[in-house]
Structure formats: C-alpha cells, structure tokens
C-alpha cells in the first residue's frame, strides 16, 4: 500500500489538520508521502517532513498552485495519483474542493469525512448529520478519501522525511484568484482548540459577542457560533460550527444562547465535556450537555468571566 496525503496550508504554512490525516494514513498502513502544493511553500514542506510516519514530501511550488485553486490542483493530483493506492486530504474546504475532481477523473468514488479506519478498504463515515455512522467498503482501485480530523489524534513531529521537488506545471486559464478576506484572530484555530465557546442567536447582536472574549481569553478558547448567529451577521461565516460548518471536538465546549438543532449538534457532540447556558430549560441542547445552566446569558457571562 502507498498513500499520498495532500497537505493543508494556512497562509502558506502547514496547517494542523495534516498531522491528523497522517494518523489516519498510518491506520491504513503502508508508505506515506505528503504533497505540498502552492506558491512559496518551502517552509510548509519542511514542517511536513518532520511529521512522524512520512517517507517523502513532494513539493510542487509554482504560481499556478497559489491559493490551491481546484482546477490545477486536481490535474496535479491526477498526474501523481498513479503511484498510490490511496489519496487522502482533510475534510477542509480545500480538501473538499479538490479531491472529488481527482476521484471523478480517475472514475472512482470518494469517501467523505472518514472518521474511522477498519482496514485498507473499509471505513467509517457519518451520514445524516452524524445521526448514523456508515461502514463502507470500497472496491475501487484507487481510494480517494477526505478525513474528519477529529476522528484521529495528530502524529508527532520527530520525523525526518526526504523532500523531493515535483516539476509538473499545469495550465490554468479557466479560474483566477481575485481576493481573500481572512478573519484575523489571535485565538486558537476552531478545529484544533482544546476549549471552544460558541454563541447563538441568543447573543442578540455582534457587539454582544464581546461577552465571550474575556472568557475565551481566560480559557485559551476559540470562539464559534451557530448558523443563526452567522446568518444574522453577528459574526463571520468561518465561525459556524455544525453539519455544514466546522466540526469540533474539544475537551470543553460551551454553548451560549444556542438551542441545539441537530445541524449544530452534528458539529460539536463529540466534545468531551459540553456546557450549555440557555434561558429556556427545555432547549434541546440540555439533552447533550454534561452541565446545563438555565438563565439569562447577559447575567451569567459577566459573572463567569469574573469568577474564572
């Protein structure tokens, strides 16, 4: 078996997700190579070479791969995939954007959001917003898989893989990058944070999200949100936790003013400890919360911040 892992990049650096994908690759077994593709990604390639379990890092450093646009990335993967039995990426917006192209061009299915490995061809994946877990077996010659990072603990960084240059340059006149508005934040990344505190429609407006800041500072937490809070414009889209947003599984998740719709639960119910703060004692979020506090968040949050 031989596995190619597409590395995730964040502003040119290696993103934390990749170490989780390698862990999944180790469970499949076999040689593991990592593809780092982008522009100016030498540092990311060096970080990838340190991940435990990696044999070889293949680097495609070229302007055509800048911003990892789907069309050139898909073509590059098709060029390289012939050497492998499995191609993996994290179920990030990049992995989801690019990997299905590889699958289609190789005439194979893709398994999305895999959170467990049974064997080299049999995997577990959530369906129906995580309300069922399917065991699926793929008889395709090439397995194309996106990995749900919360299902696998990150590998360590004591590796020393070789780095090899990939010279393949593909043409792309169909798509071009225009601009990016990335949310700047000093807080930990939602997907990797040990503590997450999320606000919902109950927060009332964007200004009130500041009530979560002090608590997040004290706990070193990332801040998330429900879809309703994002739709209402309280906070940006990258904060949405749920079936169609980010999946998190921190040690502690605090849901504030969130009712607990199944689409929200899908994104956080694998957290170790869940706390819910809600004024409605019948809110469904209490059915999954380890600790529920019924009351007005505008009174509870300042008190919590001062007492932590």
């Amino acid at each position: 078996m031989s596995i190619l892992v597409l590395a995730d990049l964040h502003e040119g650096q290696l993103a934390g997700a990749t170490a989780h994908v390698i862990a999944a690759a180790q469970q499949i077994g076999g040689d593991i190579d990592v593809l780092v593709a982008g522009e100016g990604v030498q540092a990311a390639a060096e970080s990838a070479a340190k991940l435990d379990g990696v044999s070889k890092v293949r680097v495609a450093d070229n302007a055509v791969y800048a911003h990892q646009l789907a069309e050139p990335m898909g073509t590059l993967l098709v060029e390289l995939a012939g050497d492998y039995t499995h191609v993996l990426a994290s179920a990030s917006t990049t992995g989801k954007n690019v990997l299905p192209r590889l699958a289609a061009l190789k005439d194979v299915s893709q398994l999305s959001d895999v959170l467990g490995v049974e064997s080299a061809d049999t995997f577990l994946r959530p369906i129906y917003a995580g309300n069922a877990i399917a065991t699926v077996k793929s008889d395709d010659a090439l397995k194309v898989i996106t990995i749900r990072t919360t299902g696998f603990d990150a590998v360590g960084t004591n590796g020393s893989a070789t780095i090899e240059v990939v010279n393949t340059v593909v043409e792309n006149s169909q798509s071009s990058f225009v601009k990016e508005e990335l949310a700047a934040s000093d807080r930990p990344e939602l997907g990797g944070a040990k503590v997450v505190i999320s606000g919902g429609r109950g927060m009332g407006n964007g200004e009130n999200f500041k009530l979560l800041d002090g608590i997040a500072d004290k706990l070193g937490a990332a801040i998330g949100a429900s879809r309703a809070a994002v739709d209402a414009g309280f906070v940006p889209n990258d904060m949405q936790v749920g079936q169609t947003g980010k999946i998190v599984a921190p040690d502690l998740y605090i849901a504030v003013g969130i009712s607990g719709a199944i689409q929200h639960l899908a994104g956080m119910k694998d957290s170790k400890v869940i706390v819910a703060i809600n004024k409605d004692d019948e809110a469904p979020i209490f059915q999954v919360a380890d600790y529920g506090l019924v009351g007005d968040l505008f009174e509870i949050l300042p008190e919590l911040e001062s007492k932590l």
Partner: protein
C-alpha cells in the same frame, strides 16, 4: 444564457432519522421528504438570475425514483421553466449523478450549472466538483455570492479561514452555501401552474451511464448516544464541577 439546476430529494432537514433494526441502512419508511436545502438555494439563485435578465431559461434536473418528481414540481413552482427526471430506483452515488449531469450538460449546453454544496443525507459534498472535472468546466464551490459579468462569473466562496473570491470563465459550475440567498416559498397559483410545465422523463440507460458503484454499504449504526448530564444551579457550582468533577479547568 441557460441555467441548469440539480435538485435532490432527501429527508426533510427537521426529521431525526432512525437506524433500521438490522443495521442495513437508515429507516426512511413514512419519513417526510423534501428538496435538499442547498438545492432550494440553487433554484432560488437560478430564478433570480432569470429575473435579472441574466438567464433566459432555467432547467431543473434530478436523478432518483419516481417520487423525486415532487421536488422537480417544486422547482417548477419556484420558477424553473422545465424539468428533466432521470429515473432510477438504484442508489445513485455522487459519481453516477455527476456522470449523468455531464451528459445533460453536453445536451443542454447551459452557461451556468448550479448545485447544492452538499446533500444532507449522504453529506458527500462531491457532485459539483465531480461534474466540473468531468465536463472540463471551472468550479466555484460553497458560493455565498455569484456575479455574472460578461463571459465571466465572480464567485465568493465560504472557506475555512473566511471568504475567497475567484473569477471563472463561463460556462461554469457553482455550488451553493447557506448565505447565498434566502429561498422564497412557492405560492399556490405557481404550484398550480407548475403542474403544466414540461417534465421529461429519461433513464440512466438513455445516457449510457451505469449507476452501480464500487462502494458497498456494509452496516449502518447509531452513534454513541450522549447522556444528558445535570443542571447546575449557579455559576459557582458550574466552575466547581468543571474543576473538580470534569477536570477540564
């Protein structure tokens, strides 16, 4: 410009599914079905493009059993001009659907194809990307804004770090995210009118596409249930429990 919209019949998003006792699949008997919410957003976007004079015709297409015609009628009531039903009782996975849609694209030559980013039953998030790869057309996935400008379309995408805008040459494939628009409801007169709009029925064989997939479903299980915990009476008790019982502070 013609706009093609792909819609899927799925379980209503409010329904909580149950796994069959024999673990062969989820139980969909007597469960309320509806148009996939992301497909509603796709139809809405297409109809708005027509209202703006950018699109000249909106064609809705679905792959699925006979009952999926209900969702096509909904699309017609919402403003689509005609519909194509590719009828099959087999489980059509994303790859097979993408292959069928690629054939429809070849036949219909749309300027834009709009799909949902994800079907809320399989949660695959693949079909649009696969269709783009198979047709050789550029893709703008997870769109929160779509602006057609001459022979290009600007798509603003919801990505993990925030928003990204890309420019694509037309024809192009777009998949919708939640913030693209707020779909309208179908009005009764439009529902009546939709019954008379053209709806073509085809089969996968008409397109020479094999629906069977090499992925088999071995087993479906319920996830580990979370037990509801306790209610605490005060902030002090909460902090105490988190420190001394859960040991997460």
């Amino acid at each position: 410009m013609k706009v093609l919209v792909a819609v899927k019949r799925v379980i209503d998003y409010n329904v909580k599914i149950r796994v069959k006792a024999d673990h062969s699949d989820v139980d969909l008997t007597n469960v309320k079905m509806a148009m996939n919410p992301f497909c509603e957003i796709a139809v809405e976007e297409a109809v708005r493009l027509k209202e703006k004079g950018v699109a000249t015709e909106v064609v809705a297409v679905t792959v699925g059993p006979k009952a999926a015609q209900e969702q096509l009628r909904t699309a017609l009531a919402l403003g689509a001009d005609r519909a194509i039903h590719i009828e099959t009782d087999e489980r059509a996975e994303s790859l097979a659907v993408a292959k069928l849609l690629a054939k429809v694209v070849e036949e219909e030559q749309p300027g834009l194809v709009i799909l949902g980013k994800q079907a809320i039953d399989t949660d695959n998030n693949q079909t649009g990307q696969m269709l783009a790869a198979l047709t050789g057309l550029p893709q703008g996935t997870f769109a929160s804004e779509v602006a057609v400008d001459g022979d290009k379309v600007h798509v603003t995408r919801e990505i993990d770090g925030g928003l990204q805008t890309i420019a694509l040459t037309l024809p192009a494939i777009v998949t919708t995210d939640l913030r693209l628009n707020e779909p309208r409801y179908a009005k009764l007169p439009d529902i009546m009118k939709a019954k008379k709009k053209p709806l073509d029925v085809k089969t996968p064989a008409d397109y020479g596409v094999e629906v069977a997939s090499k992925v088999s479903l071995l087993k479906v299980e319920s996830p580990a249930e979370r037990k509801g915990g306790v209610k605490v009476a005060s902030v002090d008790e909460l902090i105490d429990k988190l420190k001394n019982e859960a040991k997460v502070l």
